[in-house]
Amino acid sequence: MIETIKPTEAELKARRSRSIAIGLALGAFVVIVYFVSMVRMAPGFFHGGS
């Protein structure tokens, strides 16, 4: 018989909180990278500023 450890309610709740935060942060990062890449690849970017 294999003895197993079951996560407690508090552990599951904390993991869910971390998972949501990681998901939101990664999603925001992808969106930022996409749009900044668009801006930087726009014609004239390297001549017009930044």
Partner: protein, 312 residues
């Protein structure tokens, strides 16, 4: 579910750290000051980066500052647990494991520097990397526990964000941005020594050689006053050197005079005053001073730009 016999009991439990605990590792209050001073440097610089690129620069600087905070909390967990002010932080309170904080800090440090380098410019990225290194290694690991000049030298890390912001916008480091560095650098000792005066017993218990614990309270009060006079003079330098208007100069002079007045009250504070009310008042005012003088500089830079556009 996990096979307990196969891997043993230790370390099997899932972490109970919530997202809020990881956000606390970033020291959000310190981060807000860093973001603000970096933003001022970015807007005041003589360049107009694309708004999205500017936003990414501010975000990357904020995350880099947060990474420094996480690395600081990882290394200082032992002494944080000894002080009332810091013992509820995520690591000493047992909610976050030291290894988790270290990994979190290192990943965010790398990510923020690379993001700034790839999407903004490599000068600002290099400055951010240096700031993180200086705060986490030079200040936290070395100076903080070894010399009462810890926050004087370490203050350079907190003073660099406006220079990073300036470099992010313009790709250069100029005299103006170094003046913003100088104001913040000179502001740091009276700010932290005011705190160290009314927290001297806690710092002593943790074995941190803050100025009041090493040189004594009378010497610390004299040094606070000297630095207050110097920072008040540094505050008006941008106007005296022609980088800001007379209106900014007057505002900076008034803010500086009030700073000196608060420091004077600390200087003449009786030895018997255990409540240390003047030191607490100086600590609160010093936060307002930095915010106000950077706001004045920002307003002045925006007004100068608007006037030049109107006159063109």
């Amino acid at each position: 579910m996990v096979d307990k016999d196969a891997v043993g009991d230790a370390g099997l439990r899932l972490s109970e750290a919530t997202a809020a605990d990881f956000i606390a590792l970033l020291k959000p209050r310190v981060m807000s000051l860093v973001v603000f001073t970096a933003f001022v440097g970015l807007v005041a610089a003589p360049a107009e980066p694309h708004p999205l690129v500017a936003l990414v620069a501010v975000l990357a600087i904020a995350v880099g500052a947060g990474a420094s905070g996480a690395l600081n909390m990882w290394f200082d967990a032992d002494i944080d647990g000894l002080m009332r002010r810091t013992r509820s932080r995520p690591i000493p309170a047992g909610r976050v494991q030291p290894g988790e904080a270290l990994a979190f800090g290192l990943v965010l440090a790398g990510l923020s520097v690379m993001t700034l380098g790839v999407f903004v410019n490599w000068l600002s990225a290099a400055l951010l990397a240096f700031t993180i290194f200086f705060y986490a290694v030079v200040y936290t690991m070395w100076l903080k526990r070894s010399t009462p000049q810890n926050i004087v030298i370490g203050g350079a890390a907190g003073a660099l964000p406006p220079v990073i912001g300036w470099a992010a916008a313009s790709g250069t480091v100029s005299v103006e941005s170094l003046l913003l560095f100088l104001i913040t650098f000179l502001w740091t000792p009276p700010h932290f020594w005011a705190l160290a005066l009314f927290k001297a017993d806690e710092y002593g218990r943790a074995g941190i050689p803050m100025m009041p614990n090493v040189a004594g309270i009378p010497s610390t009060k004299r040094q606070i006053f000297a630095y207050a006079v110097i920072v008040a003079m540094a505050g008006v330098l941008p106007a005296l050197l022609g980088y800001a208007s007379a209106a900014y100069g007057l505002a900076a002079a008034a803010l500086g005079l009030v700073f000196v007045r608060y420091a004077w009250k600390v200087l003449v504070m009786p030895e018997s005053d255990r409540s240390m009310a003047p030191a607490k008042a100086l600590f609160a005012y010093s936060l307002f001073y930095l915010f106000a003088i950077f706001t004045a500089y920002l307003a002045d830079a925006i007004a100068a730009r608007a006037l030049s556009v109107a006159g063109a």
